[in-house]
Amino acid sequence: MSDLTYAGKTAGTGTAQPAGPPPDPRGPLRTWADDLRMGLAFALRGGREGWMRTLLTAVGVGLGVALLLLTTAIPGALAGRDQRGAARAEVPASDAEYVGGTVLVGNVDTEYHDTMVRGRLLLPEGPDAPLPPGLDRFPKPGEMVVSPALADLLDDAGSDLLRERLDYGIAGTVSDAGLIDPGELAYYAGSKDIAAADVNVSRVAAFGEDADDQAMEPVLVLLAMIVFVALLMPVAVFLIAAVRFGGERRDRRLAALRLVGADGRAVRRIAAGEALAGALLGLVAGTGLFLLGRQLAGGVTVYDMSIFASDLDPSPALALLVAAAVPAAAVGVTLLALRGVVIEPLGVVRSARPRRRRIWWRLLLPAGGLALLAPMMGRGDDAGAFPEWQVIGGTVLLLTGITALLPWLVEAVVARLGRGPTSWQLAVRRLQLSSGTAARLVNGIAVAVAGAIALQMVFTGVEDDYKEETGHDAGRYQLAVYASAGQDVGVGDRIEGTEGVSETVTRVSTVLAGKKRNPRNSVTLSVGSCAELREMAKLAGCRDGDAFYLTDTYGSADSTHMATAGDPLYLDPSYDGMAGKALRWAPPSDIRPARARADSDGNKYDGIVATPGAVPDVRDSGAFTAWVDVRLDPAVPEAAERVRNEVAGADPLLSVHTLNSEIYEEDFAGIRTGLAVGAACVLVLIGSSLLVGQLEQLRERRKLLSSLVAFGTRRSTLSLSVLWQTAIPVALGMALSTAFGLALGTVLMRMTDTPVAVDWPSVLTMAGAGAGVVAAVTALSMPLLIRLMRPDGLRTE
Amino acid sequence: MTIGHTLLGLLESGPRHGYDLKRAFDERFGHDRPLHYGQVYSTMSRLLKNGLVEVDGIEPGGGPERKRYAITDAGVTDVAGWLTTPEKPEPYLQSTLYTKVVLALLTGRDAAELLDVQRAEHLRLMRELTRRKKGGDLADQLICDHALFHLEADLRWLELTAARLGKLAAEVRA
């Protein structure tokens, strides 16, 4: 090939020798355009090799773009959920509201197999009653309109208990506008039994409020921002690496172009054109992948959350930005990459001993990031929203710091390595010659792992917060039924007889005060059998009709005063905006003091306790609430569903709670798993680029490998050297990203005002995932290595 | 190479006796073929006749080798003319080897065998020259290389002919 080009060149210079090179008649813009087009042509018509390279870049960029579009579309998708959520929010009617224009809505949410089922009872109060979104008419009493997902669930053979609970005829389907996501279980049932005064029933004048009104907690917004930065940064880093696929082969082609007379600048422009071809194809591929992924996303439910495909719509501005930034980055990165390279007609010369990398400006990036983030430490939720740009800027700078520091670190460490077996020596020397390439390939992994570690830390911390707040004794009781004032406080008796219930404990109580309205002081009056009272206090003796005031506990002075002063007392007093029954009650004259007992959590009961005989009319007065703890028999299947059915049968408006101290942890585990899955996707993406680089390098060295084998090098030595070559930079990358991840995590935890704690298992998991990528890349490059080590590589004839 | 021009050229640095000339010639150019005294004598007498050299003196003892010769102006002009005239490249159009190959083909003998034997002989000589070259000084190396390049050319011809033997046989016997 070189003979041919040489001949062409000599012929060209030999025929006519003009006085000096003629000025290029084209303007600079035309020159650029022409050279770029030439590069495009090379990329698309460069034979098998050119195609392969363009294809690799296109696939890499395509994956990156798809991920980019998907991530930029997620805020929109979440906003879509929020909007539909807001659109069906119930606006309560004021007292003055025209009665014919309202609807009574009863909240009958229930749970089925750990999944929420949103339920509403509807009773229109006039011809102008507002219709909830997603419905075209009100269901008649005894009918219901269900979401498609609930319809499917009800159709399931195993859903007998749910069918029994939602004992309505299906009269229609809730359309998408009335649902938060396609997987939502929801129904609207017609009812004629609810009244405006009932608990969990409200008189609604309209549906829909402004979505903006619901501000997210600042900490959650912060987390969301960090998630996006942590996911997008590695994708960006990967995109940059993908544009450089096949660089070494391309350099040789560029040298050949120089030979036939292209000047140094033209060659760079042509190279940029080649990269542009890959990027443009990648953009197309990425859009295709995104559309495909969008369709798939519509059918998938992750952790009780699913997304309408139509919601996954990147905002035009963001999509335009991606479409413009990716090709521009491709050209920019190529030109930047060729900066340290001199393309000569006979080959590519890299500055033989490149300048030592300096560390000071590399340190500036993370230092700047920390400087941006540090002032926000200790804010927590109370100080309002975090300044967006400061958070994003700080995090981006900190994570970019990894990509700046890693090349320096790899170079500095590798330069000091040396001793070791032959395989080690081969790998180390190789890295010393091209530490930049190695570092570049690992950069993406490092950024992804650092972000993931930081997020894991923060999630773990926040999750601990939430766990402390629940504090239910889930070991003993699994369900709790709460009957508000006005509901059936005797519901515990019904539950007790249900199949699968081994024990119920009912606590009936109300507020007791010395005034009918807005009392200053109040204590709790709990009613129960002597046996139940003995759980709360140390009683010397007890008979029905007795009452006791608890001493040695919270508020015992108030309790003592109310029990002994002889002033009139009122059950369930009224407060401004909340009407109570305010029933007059006189404690029995023989009311006695009793020492309070602590429950299994160490909390002491307080107030006044009484047997039913001392308080008339507990069940029907409407002044008492009941809390029923239910212990289930684990041997009975579906015991919880049976209890829920029993309660719903008594009164669908009664709420049943699942007592589970780990309920929040499960939610967070979901987020963490999601994060881990996302990080894993990014790692796989980057691992694929590592693999491509590795394979390319191996193919380059085909001759060398065969000759090394010829003189007796063990195949294991060569394989090990390939392993070291990947493992050393990845190990350094993991170390650096762990350090940065912990630093970022610490700062973020300080910012959210969470006690700093390191979640070592997840750190190890993340670092282990990085190591796994190395192992996988090495394993996947083995077949090629083994093939290349065959002596066929020596054949020249 | 003509002996006359060579001896004339050697005289340009100063007058020499006949035996002196022979020794200088043998040392520089003789190698495997030293000059006979007779050759020196006959050449010198021809140069004398043409006025290119003159007798500068005679040592006692007699014999042509005892004469001391000096170059004349005409002689210097003649040497200069010889040196500046390029040698005519040898066309090598009359080749014994080619004749042998064709004859072998015509008479039905094994031409390939002939070529192989010749090839082995050429390479044997090349090996010998290479050995000599390894031990020798720069002059030896240049002279051996000259021979080696020629032998190599012959060898390439032998290889080429061996590869085209079938075609040649067809043409010769047609």
Binding site: R714 | D116, L123
Partner: protein, 241 residues
């Protein structure tokens, strides 16, 4: 192992018995026979040129002789051992300890310095890094390239690189050196110098050299020649010197 250039007793004796022989080798690559009944023998300390036109199978013969590629048919015997009977690991060990290799190009590891490249086969035989590099130095001196010991192959000329390759081939004091077009990428002056140093050093250490070349002047450095034509060998001279 002695790693300085020794004076080998074999060289003086001119042992007539061949050290490496091959009989009736046959090798087919993708349907095309590369070797079709080739015979070969070389005595200790002898240098044999393997000549022939391109594609005649001379490189394949070298690969089979060195145990890099198994022959489809026929036997290769080195020092009384049938190469086909050895395991791959044993053949590799043989190549490491008893054979040396010089190729046209693509043989030096670009990221190792020249002295490290020469030390590489020694390290593969288990020598420590320091010892291996110390042992490599005299060979660089012998090949007149000790001044570039700490440069990388990319920074030296082709002739120097090839001398480093020769030094590497000889550093393990092999019994047989296999050279495949060792001067193919060099100009004639550099090529001759490399050949002189290769044959000279091999002779001094008593190594036999199998020299594959298509250049007669390179072949002239050998003691005798074997011609490969259409996968068959032809030799007009007896084994030994």
């Amino acid at each position: 192992m002695s790693t300085t250039p020794p004076t080998d007793p074999f060289a003086a004796d001119a042992e007539p018995a061949p050290i490496l022989t091959a009989t009736a080798l046959r090798k087919v690559y993708a349907g095309t026979p590369a070797l079709d009944g080739a015979d070969f023998a070389i005595a200790a300390g002898e240098t044999v040129a393997v000549m022939g036109p391109s594609g005649s199978g001379k490189s394949t013969l070298l690969h089979c002789l060195a145990g890099i590629v198994p022959a489809d048919d026929g036997t290769v015997t080195y020092a009384g051992r049938d190469l086909a009977a050895l395991s791959d690991a044993e053949r590799s060990a043989l190549r490491r300890r008893e054979f040396g290799f010089v190729f046209q190009f693509g043989q030096l590891v670009p990221e190792l310095t020249c002295v490290e490249n020469v030390a590489l086969p020694l390290r593969l035989t288990g020598l420590g890094r320091r010892d291996a590099e110390r042992a490599a130095r005299p060979w660089l001196e012998r090949l007149e390239v000790d001044d570039i010991a700490h440069q990388r192959p990319g920074e030296v000329s082709g002739g120097q690189g090839q001398r480093v390759a020769v030094a590497r081939a000889l550093a393990t004091t092999p019994r047989v050196v296999f050279a495949d077009e060792p001067t193919g990428a060099l100009d004639s002056l550099n090529g001759e110098r490399v050949m002189e140093l290769l044959t000279g050093a091999a002779q001094d250490s008593g190594a036999a050299v199998v020299l594959v070349t298509h250049e007669p002047r390179v072949a002239a450095y050998a003691d005798r020649e074997v011609v490969v034509r259409d996968g068959r060998t032809r030799s007009l001279e007896p084994v030994g010197r």
